[in-house]
Assembly symmetry: C2
Homo-oligomer: 436 residues x 2
Amino acid sequence: MNKQAELDSLLQDVAKSGENLTVSDRRAFLRKGATFLGAATAAALSAPSVRAAMPPTEPAYGKSLGSPVLANPYGMPSKYEAHVQRRTVEWLTPDRISSISFTPLADLKGIITPSGVMFERYHSGLPEINPQEHHLMIHGLVERPIILSMDDLMRFPSVSMTRFVECPANGGMEWRGAQMDRLQFTHGMLGCAEWTGVLLSTLLQEVGVKPEGKWILAEGADGSHMSRSIPLEKALDDTLVVYAQNGEALRPEQGYPVRLVNPGWEGNTCIKWLRRLEVGDAPWYHREETSKYTDLMPDGRSREFTFVQECNSVVTNPCPENPMTRPGKIWVEGLAWSGRGKIKHVDVSFDGGVTWRQARFTSEVFPRALTRFGIDWEWNGQTALVQSRAVDETGYVQPTYAQLRAARGENSIYHKNAIHTWQVNKDGSVRNVQIS
Amino acid sequence: MNKQAELDSLLQDVAKSGENLTVSDRRAFLRKGATFLGAATAAALSAPSVRAAMPPTEPAYGKSLGSPVLANPYGMPSKYEAHVQRRTVEWLTPDRISSISFTPLADLKGIITPSGVMFERYHSGLPEINPQEHHLMIHGLVERPIILSMDDLMRFPSVSMTRFVECPANGGMEWRGAQMDRLQFTHGMLGCAEWTGVLLSTLLQEVGVKPEGKWILAEGADGSHMSRSIPLEKALDDTLVVYAQNGEALRPEQGYPVRLVNPGWEGNTCIKWLRRLEVGDAPWYHREETSKYTDLMPDGRSREFTFVQECNSVVTNPCPENPMTRPGKIWVEGLAWSGRGKIKHVDVSFDGGVTWRQARFTSEVFPRALTRFGIDWEWNGQTALVQSRAVDETGYVQPTYAQLRAARGENSIYHKNAIHTWQVNKDGSVRNVQIS
């Protein structure tokens, strides 16, 4: 307490002297301050403890002119954030043309995923499209088929909505017990953005769907011509023909100049580089909805058209990339999401699911969007098992691995939404473990 | 109508043949389609008319492999969007060290401003700060002064909120009749982001404000040590100590590693590169709240501490950068915002304020955030005067220039929020004009 009083006195001297403090005064103060702070903190401050030491001198940038405006007409993150980038798992796919990269969730805050680090999924690589030459055809069982330029598309009423997009293979490696060593790899086929575009229902009203029209084929302009069948009911609900993400034109990796977003549904239905929408009377049963993106059940049959990404959540701090640096209070946070609507409730456990405490939401809560939750935790330096369990507005509760396997068997790759466990070790490191 | 029927028939042939259509078939179809579309559209389609011609051949990217994943571990906009960037007005400031750049509002969608193109304002240039060496001191009339490292700061409960930041000089050149030739320059000292950080009220609870503490000085770590006095009432309301913007760490231009955001208040109070918060019993009357950022009134006195950015709005399409390309239906849209709360209502006029029609909101409506509005318009090819007028939830109505000048005179630079007028000329070009 003496040291704290001394610190207070020092700090108040600075406060009084204000702008008149000389550089050498500052140096003397800061050196002394640094000495005391190391000892004063843990005892004196209720939460979280302060371990800071002030730099011994005024930094150079505080005594000089910096860079001018427009040094970067399009700004980028600081060089100190260069580690925040997409990454991939080398053994996951035979090559990087038909492959996937992962969002660095451990480094992200809030619910918006920066467009530059949102996961990528290609079936034949990334095309480079000139929007002046791109068109979207809407045809099939419609009264008035149309071919729209990008300029035409932007003449329709637009709407913006914040929604997640998740690959149904997210966490798929964990089904049979693989335990990836990064949050980026366990849950990073996931992102959330403010999407702007034209509701597909608006375009369907323009073309006039014939009574026998029940399904819509969406097809991409890339080399794979990736395609999926979408039920008309969804198309008339909230499917969006998107040209902008987080305020600006889609980036090439996200479907520039135009893509589909089916909020809350499998990411692969959100066809990128969209060139064609065809209305038909039945699904097309193309490759990516038969041999892929179906779930093999214990009886040998496959579930197909399992569109909805069920309620899920994960703790993002701590996690393997964000180890504990010391015992004491920290702010534990994470993300929850559900393809069925809003997140209603998230509980967090620190003892592997024996006891639970309710987290609070620290972001906006939108339907079919990432929702940020947080909760205080005082870590005692012992081994802990950190879990989160989300409930959505339909009452659906995120399952345990045992519950998920009881319902779906052991053969699936997609739609893994089991409660995830981080083991915090005594040395502060965090490990991915599975608790049934 | 014959041509339309022919087009329908053609399109349905394509639909039936589906994936089996050969490239030469496609070429034949597309050539024919292109011929017919030019004629068929304006008559047959209710809105908006289709003028597209399909490219005569399948583009190369549809027949080949594209780039692999992680070609860009941190993705950037398409090269076709290179024009979307910050810009400045060369004559506005003597140099670019103490200067400003402008957000390219005409190219943006939704309400999130991409961090890379959000306007910059420096008082002595852009510092490059290593977050490992940066600290935030909170002291003055407090019980327990602290010095926090970035790691310490992130141990406090965090919260995310979408809010605008606007320089009070936004549109200042228009006060005396300058008519800038771009929306970027008339309204581009403005942006909106999802900000994540720690509520200042949380930190003030930590340090314990003494009863006599009424004001807070916020000071930056840059060479200017830019500082502003903030009333305690605001600090305890929604002032946020921010370390992340749109999901990732602040970018250097926006205050990396930590800044203040005072939602709805003058952007200059949102101190960037924040290093110090001092609690005092009165404002400090520093340079940037006396000689600058005050409003000279007709009687020779100056308004000071005019923190709130009053209700404002502007049409972003059409605008000088987005001219009309042809008569017919287009989607007119714009942005509205108020420092006092939510936007309640926006009207749009196409005849310089003689008649008004209510626009609808096409984004989320948050307090103290940009709000996107839109309205259908059928342009008849004649001269038009396009305006928007916003009303906020307090009932405040955006004023005309005449009303603003009656209240504030002719000498101000800051807080220009008059109803803005775009003149659409017969050739489709759009000009900035002032209507009192």
